[in-house]
């Protein structure tokens, strides 16, 4: 079990670390667009759209790693005053709500993605690239988040039960 949880951590962190560098091609898209618009007077139809997709990948595939490092903001006026064990118990109580939301996003997102793949949906812009990869990636991001949440849940149960970290 321990190594399985570590596998989830490593997977989400690696994907996140890799995804983080997507801001660099995003910058290149913008510089390319600015240069072609002002230097060559030939604005592109794809650069502004492509950078949106790059950033969307950033938000979606980085979310699980952000959860792992604990960067999603919470209100800790009560939470911070509790013992470590108390905090873990609260996390156990709120976990079903996190799961409810993410499972719902996963379920609806999956149907969006399947439909999009089935009809080879495109974005409908002048460039008109296929849009289904973006919708599919959203489902993957939700699955990664759920896995990360579940890993934390198992660790919390172990901690509350045995008084030490798994």
């Amino acid at each position: 079990m321990k190594s399985f949880l570590a596998l989830i951590d490593t997977f989400n962190a690696r994907v996140g670390q890799l995804t983080a560098f997507i801001v660099i091609p995003t910058l290149f898209c913008i510089f390319y667009e600015i240069t072609s618009r002002y230097v060559f007077s030939k604005p592109t139809i794809w650069a502004s759209e492509l950078m949106i997709y790059f950033c969307a990948i950033l938000y979606v595939l980085g979310a699980a790693w952000t959860l792992q490092v604990g960067r999603h903001v919470k209100i800790d006026m009560v939470y911070a005053r509790l013992s470590l064990r108390g905090q873990r118990i609260l996390d156990l109580i709120t976990f079903p709500f996190f799961t409810l939301y993410l499972v719902m996003l996963l379920w609806v997102g999956l149907q969006f993605a399947m439909e999009s793949i089935a009809i080879h949906e495109t974005s409908g812009t002048p460039w008109d690239p296929p849009i289904y990869p973006m919708k599919s990636i959203f489902v993957i991001g939700c699955a990664m988040l759920l896995l990360q949440g579940a890993a934390k849940f198992i660790r919390d149960i172990y901690f509350v039960k045995n008084g030490r970290d798994l």
Partner: protein
């Protein structure tokens, strides 16, 4: 179920989950799902999903990671140190010069960095030890860094303005430009306060030492080099937005390039700096965007249930007149600011308040500036004052959170004064954007 009851239950669910320590993003989403299933059919989630995708593929949202990246690189580029040194050497003769210099350096830094935390932490580490070493009053030193650094919310490029612009559907460029004069007004009030208080009570700030006073002119001029890159970056980012040749997203990319060049010039550019900046950017961007997704879900479902109309009618029925309503909204913000961060307040109240403001004949851009000033206030007030926490986290031992709250009191009153001026004279924020081309 009546809309009043729905509102009460929704708020109760939301607050309960939040207090139990569920992160805000999941709290908003889970509340939305519970009420979607409870009030409508689960298929209503498809509407939510459409809203989430719309947000995910939003052009303006791209500027968020880019401005964050720019700030993260600048933070590690050594620009803040040079800036502080230059301002310090030039204001060395003045009594209280170091504190005044800090405010000025904060303004310049705020014109490049849009995140409050980064700025306060940076100057807390650079300026605070210098001031304490030279015998400055603890309160004066803590106050000028915390309040000065907090101006990053108001002085463009501010992430708060980007989110406000996306929520209100107004031009982010206009908001940026509208924040300039109120930001300068606030800085002027702060500087004026420091000048007067050290003049009345000289023990707050000792006179500059012989050594500090007699810096050779040549050295002084060399120090000015530290101002070149910040000036260029600010000019490129805000100038290109103002003239209308670049969107805020493109201006952010230009700013990133400027930040990378600054770091390279200071020999601070390394793989570690770039990768740390990219990681930090990912964390902040993911935290923000999943909040947007959650807000889309909860606002979408509340609006569908008739909540937006309900809030609008309730507020419009208040017997206070248009200005009274503006004041009531600000009181609500300050109240929420005791528990929530700026982003939560904006995402939850913005979609309700902004249409009301527009129907009352106020300008949404002006209202954005008012919002930012309110957040500057809420950042300095207990029990949840993020600016104060940032400052306390880098202050030397012996300085606690209460000291920082107390140190900020005079600046807090000045911010209220500036807020009143900005409210009373909308032209102060709207004049510059009205000159913009396009």
């Amino acid at each position: 179920m009546s809309i009043e009851l729905i509102t009460v239950l929704l708020v109760a669910t939301f607050v309960t989950l939040l207090v139990l320590g569920l992160p805000l993003a999941w709290t908003m989403g889970a509340t939305a799902v519970i009420f979607t299933v409870g009030l409508f059919e689960p298929s209503t989630m498809f509407m939510t999903m459409t809203r989430v995708f719309h947000m995910m593929l939003n052009y303006a949202l791209v500027s968020v990671p880019l401005f964050v990246l720019m700030g993260c690189i600048l933070e590690k580029s050594g620009v803040a140190e040079q800036l502080f040194d230059a301002v310090y050497v030039w204001s060395g003769r003045l009594r209280g010069g170091l504190a005044i210099g800090t405010i000025i350096a904060c303004v310049v830094m705020a014109a490049m960095v849009g995140i409050v935390g980064a700025e306060i932490v940076t100057f807390g580490l650079i300026a605070l030890p210098q001031m304490l070493d030279r015998g400055y009053d603890k309160g004066l030193a803590l106050g000028c860094i915390t309040s000065g650094g907090g101006m990053a919310t108001l002085i463009p490029p501010s992430i708060v303005f980007i989110v406000y612009g996306m929520t209100a559907g107004v031009s982010i460029g206009d908001l940026f430009i509208a924040g300039i004069l109120p930001g300068l007004l606030l800085a002027t009030l702060f500087v004026g306060y420091i000048v007067i208080s050290v003049w009345l009570r000289p023990h707050l700030a000792p006179a500059a030492s012989e050594e500090d006073r007699n810096v050779p002119l040549k050295k002084k001029l060399r120090m000015l080099q530290g101002l070149i890159m910040p000036a260029l970056i600010t000019l490129a980012v805000l100038g290109s937005i103002y003239v209308g040749i670049a969107t805020p997203t493109e201006a952010a990319a230009i700013g990133c390039l400027g930040a990378i060049i600054s770091a390279a010039m200071n020999r601070r550019l390394s793989w570690v700096v770039i990768s740390r900046a990219c990681y930090e950017t990912l964390w902040i961007s993911c935290m923000l965007t999943w909040l947007f997704f959650g807000a889309q879900a909860i606002i979408g479902i509340y609006t569908l249930a008739g909540g937006a109309t309900f809030v609008k009618n309730a507020i419009m029925d208040l017997p206070f007149g248009p200005w009274g309503i503006v004041i009531v909204m600000q009181i609500i913000w300050v109240f929420l600011g005791m528990f929530l961060d700026w982003i939560g307040i904006l995402l939850l109240t913005g979609p309700m308040f902004i249409p009301i403001i527009q129907s009352l004949g106020f300008d949404p851009v002006w209202f954005g500036v008012v919002y930012c000033m309110n957040m500057h206030i809420s950042y300095l007030t207990p029990p949840f004052g993020p600016s104060v926490f940032y400052m306390a986290s880098v202050a030397p031992p012996g300085i606690n959170v209460t000291d920082v709250y107390k140190a900020n009191l005079p600046y807090l009153w000045l911010t209220f004064l500036a807020l009143a001026i900005v409210c009373a004279f909308p032209g102060l924020s709207l004049w510059l954007p009205s000159l913009m081309s396009g």
